[in-house]
Amino acid sequence: MSDALLANLLSPAVLFFALGVAAALVRSELKFPEALYSALTIYLLVAIGFKGGVALAEAGLGRVWLPALAAIGLGAFIPLWTYPVLRWGGRLAPVDAAAIAAHYGSVSAVTFLAATNYLAAIGQTYESHAVALLAVMESPAILVGVVLGKRAGAARGGPPVPLGLVVREALFGRSIFLLLGALGVGALCGPAGMEKVGAFFVTPFQGVLALFLLEMGIVAGRRLEDLRRVGPFLLGFGVVAPALNGALGVAVGTAVGLSAGGAMLLGVLAASASYIAAPAAVRLALPEANPTLSLTAALAITFPFNLTLGIPLCDAFARWLQS
């Protein structure tokens, strides 16, 4: 385990992330243009979706529907236990508790990618169509979280946001749309399509991810000073919740018959907190919620935690459970 941990900490991905955090901390004027951040996000989501779609075409839907259902259930469940903890344990306003719960039930694609890299590095196999789990797990928690927030909090003013808009955002938001869409394209093209575009979407993928994590490090590092606004409760939550959700995810994955690698990935998905899909949808549906709380927790606490410790922990737990 400590070997694997060290290998993870010394992987290009994690080291570049650390470099980015360092850049923000020493206040180097290094920064990525917003367009580069967006371009890298688009590339990563399309690449991972396409690859997953091709894998899905090869595996067939028969092997995916049960884990997918489990992932959906898991995503919907997480806000149900985190909401009361945040609401009464953390004494947060109802709408803030609901917003944070939605972020933690939804998922982070980049964390998922780092986990697949980790598995590849240690030579552990996994179901290559697991990316379908990532795709279906983005929305459910957002919808549950929004309903919790709407029930709990009366709007502070202004006309209510039409429900259709909210559902559209939860289903057609930037990251979900790209991921599901590329998945569909990959499934339709199959291996023949992969032959054409694999040199762009697969071969350089790990390097692009490393570069993106450098940027993520800068982004997270620049938000570290927002941690003061977030309070000690949320700080602890940002570490404990992923650990619990990760264990839960591994267990559920094992229960529905995933391999150790696949169960670990479902654990990482459960552990991860969304910082692309959820902020957009929650901001639209629950504008009264304070976005600093949820986004800082997801980006500056939970993301680094998962990248460094959460991933190896999920892996160790999955191996132990399945051995």
């Binding site: 709007a155 003013g157 202004g158 800068i218 620049r222 901001r283 504008p287 986004l295």
Partner: protein, 100 residues
């Protein structure tokens, strides 16, 4: 050449509020708008424009004076309670008043 007095309403808001602002502009009947991404800081903290989740948008809208009042009123009542934003009006003189 004739210049015509109009109001320029400027709105700086978080990017997530942009759709709501555009809907409001359509509802009050503004004839057009100009917008661009900005970064900034204010009561709700720094908004570094490094990722879209933190971006700000600035809107500039030229309207007849009576519309300016209506627009600002509804902004204050409907959007200010929800979003990070500031809004102000100023006096301008436009070429071709018939455009607005």
């Amino acid at each position: 050449m004739n210049l015509h007095p109009m109001k320029l309403v400027t709105i700086v808001c978080e990017a997530y509020a942009a759709d709501a602002v555009l809907r409001l502009l359509a509802e009050v009947g503004a004839s057009g708008h100009t917008s661009f991404p900005v970064e900034g800081s204010g009561a709700r903290g720094r908004r570094l424009a490094d990722i879209p989740e933190y971006a700000n948008t600035q809107f500039e809208v030229i309207v007849r004076p009576e519309l300016a009042t209506l627009l600002l009123q509804r902004l204050g009542a409907e959007l200010f309670p929800r979003y990070a934003m500031v809004a102000f009006e100023s006096d301008v003189r436009v070429l071709r008043a018939d455009k607005f």
